[in-house]
Symmetry: C2
Subunit: 330 residues, 2 copies
C-alpha cells in the first residue's frame, strides 16, 4: 500500500529547523525519557573501512511517547577533503513508531546532529550550571563552539563570553561570529587557565587526545560540559578533575565508559565514583544535581540515539508546518 | 557541496530489477568476495520494541571492488496486518564506497531482499546441486517458494517441480503460479517425504520451528538449501541431517551458528563437524564442494549484508540504465 514519504534536503532542514528553545526542550524530553527506563537504545553499529580511510556509524533509539524513531547513518571518509568534499556526511531516516513505515528521509549531512548536540549542551547547562552565569567560556573554535554557545545562551543568558583555541586567528574569528550572533561582549582568550578562572560555565568542544582543561583550574561555582570526546582515545578534561568535582554526570554511562571523559578517568585508575548519574536522571529529578551555586559540576556528552530520534521527529514536524521538502509515494 | 541522490520507489525497482542471471551473478560475486577476506561485515544491529510488537534490523557490508556499500534497515511490525498493512517494510541506502556520500535511496519495502535471497539460493544450487536436476522440490508456498524456484531454474533447468505446504490450497496455488511462470510440469505434493525422495534439489522456505525435512529422507544425489531460518529458534531441517550429509555449507558461519540450521544442530549436541566451509569458499574454489553427483549436500542461508550491498549496487545500475526514479539534489 503506497504511502507518503517526506524527503528533506539539508537546505530544506536549515530553513525549517532552528536551534531554539523548542529544539532544546525536545532534546530535554529525550533525556527525561532515557531516565524513565522505557527507551530502547541498542549499541552503535560501527564499521571501519581502513581500505578507504572511512568509517560508518549507525545509531537508533525508540522513545516511548515519540511518534517516530530515527535511524542515523554517519559516514566519515577522511580522505574527502583532498577532493574538496567534507569528511562527514550522513542522513537520518524517521520511521513511524506504530507501523515501522518510513515517514521521512532527512538528508541533513550532519546538520541535525550539530543541532541536537548543541541542544544537549543547553540541557546540561540548564540543569547543572550555577543559577547565574555572567561569563561563559568555550574551548575550541569550530561549528560546535558556535552552536554550543548559541544554545547555552538561551538557558543562561550570560553577558560575556571567552573563546580559546589552539589557533589564535580561528579563536578571534569565532569570537567575532559569536559577538555578532549573540550581541554580547565576546573575547578571544589566549590562556585557557584564565578562561576557566573567569567563567561559571565552560564548554569544551575539541577533538583533543590530551587534556586541554586541567584539574587545578577547577574553582567553586563552575560547570563544565565536555562534548568533544566521542571516540576511544579522545580526552579533553584532565581525569582527576572528574573526582575533584562535586558531581560528574554522563549522558549515557555505558557510552561514557567507552568513549567519554569517564573512559580516560577509568583508564588512568582515578575514577572511584562507582556508577555516576545520567543527565536524564538530573533532568527528571530521579538523581541529585547541583545543590548549591558554589559546587563544581561536570557533564560528559558523547551523543545518544535518543537525541537523534528527538531531533528527527522535531525536524519533520517543523518541515510539515513550513511545507518544506518533497513528498514521494512509496 | 550538493550532489545528486537517486530515489527509487518499490514500483521503480520492480520495473528496473529482474531476478535474472545477472542478478544471480552479482550476488555470487558478493559471496566470492566474502571468501577473499576483504569484506567488512559488522554484526547486525537489532532493536526489539516489545511495546509495539515490533523489531528493526540494520545490516551492512563493505565489499572491495564494489563501487558502493548498502545499509539495509528492515522493520517488522507484527500488528500491522490488523490495520491492513504488511508486517515487513524497509529500505536500503547506497553510499559511495569512495566518499561515503549517499548515492541512492532504495525504498524497496523488502523487494530487493526477496531478490537477493532467491539469488543466493541459485548460487548455492549452481555450485552445490548435482550437475543435472530433473526434479526440484520446494517446501513452503510463499513469495520465497516462488522466487527460489524461478532463480534455481536458471542454473539447473529442471523439467519437473513439486511443491509442498502445510496448507494444500496454498500449495496448489503456488504450483499453478510456478507452472505458468516456468512453463514446466509443477505438482502440489502432499507428502513431504515423497517430495524429497523424487527430487535432486530441495529448497526449504518455511518459518518452521520444528523440522519439516527429516534426516531419514536424505538420499544420494540430493542437494538441500534451507533459507527459512533467519532467527533464533527457527529450524527446518532435522539436525542429524547436517552430519549425515557429505557436505554442510553455511552462508556465514558466525550467523548460522546463531540463526541457521547449524544453530539447532549445535543446540542438540549433534554437530561435531568443526567449522564448516562457507558458500563463498565453495564459489571461489578455496573450499571443496560436491565431489560427485551421488553426494548429499546442504547449504544453510541466513542472509548477509554482502548480498544487500551487491543487490543495491546492481539495482542502482539497472535503474540508471532504465532512467527510473527521481533525482534529488542534496
Amino acid at each position: 500500500m503506497p504511502h507518503d514519504i517526506l524527503v528533506l534536503t539539508e537546505a530544506d532542514l536549515r530553513k525549517a529547523v532552528r536551534l531554539d528553545l523548542k529544539a532544546i526542550d525536545v532534546v530535554e524530553e529525550a533525556f527525561r525519557a532515557l531516565a524513565s527506563g522505557g527507551v530502547i537504545m541498542p549499541p552503535i553499529l560501527s564499521m571501519d573501512i581502513p581500505q578507504v580511510h572511512g568509517e560508518v556509524d549507525v545509531k537508533t533509539a525508540y522513545i516511548p511517547g515519540f511518534e517516530g524513531f530515527a535511524i542515523k547513518v554517519s559516514p566519515g571518509f577522511f580522505d574527502n577533503p583532498k577532493i574538496g568534499l567534507p569528511s562527514l556526511n550522513g542522513l537520518m531516516i524517521l520511521f513511524s513508531a506504530k507501523t515501522g513505515l518510513v515517514e521521512a528521509l532527512l538528508l541533513d549531512n550532519g546538520f541535525l546532529t550539530d543541532v541536537r548536540t548543541a541542544a544537549a549542551g543547553a540541557v546540561a547547562a540548564r540543569h547543572m550550571a550555577p543559577s547565574t552565569v555572567e561569563t561563559a567560556g568555550v574551548m575550541g573554535t569550530g561549528v560546535q563552539a558556535r552552536l554550543q554557545m548559541i544554545a547555552a545562551h538561551q538557558v543562561r543568558p550570560f553577558s560575556r563570553l571567552l573563546v580559546w583555541g589552539r589557533d589564535a586567528a580561528k579563536a578571534t574569528a569565532c569570537a567575532n561570529d559569536l559577538a555578532e550572533t549573540l550581541g554580547i561582549e565576546v573575547q578571544a582568550e589566549p590562556d585557557p587557565a584564565r578562561l576557566v578562572a573567569q567563567s561559571q560555565l565552560v564548554v569544551t568542544t575539541t577533538p583533543a587526545r590530551e587534556p586541554v582543561l586541567k584539574a587545578d583550574w577547577l574553582h567553586p561555582g563552575l560547570h563544565i560540559t565536555a562534548m568533544g570526546s566521542d571516540q576511544e582515545g579522545k580526552n579533553e578534561i584532565e581525569p582527576t578533575a572528574l573526582t575533584r568535582a562535586d558531581l560528574y554526570v554522563a549522558d549515557r554511562v555505558s557510552q561514557c565508559e567507552k568513549l567519554g571523559e569517564l573512559a580516560a578517568a577509568i583508564h588512568d585508575g582515578v575514577w572511584h565514583g562507582g556508577t555516576p548519574p545520567e543527565l536524564g536522571d538530573i533532568v527528571s529529578g530521579a538523581g541529585t544535581g547541583r545543590t548549591g551555586d558554589d559546587q563544581i559540576t561536570i557533564c560528559d556528552l558523547t551523543g545518544t540515539g535518543a537525541q537523534d530520534t528527538a531531533i528527527a521527529t522535531f525536524a519533520r514536524a517543523r518541515a510539515l508546518t513550513a511545507k518544506a521538502g518533497t513528498t514521494i509515494q512509496s
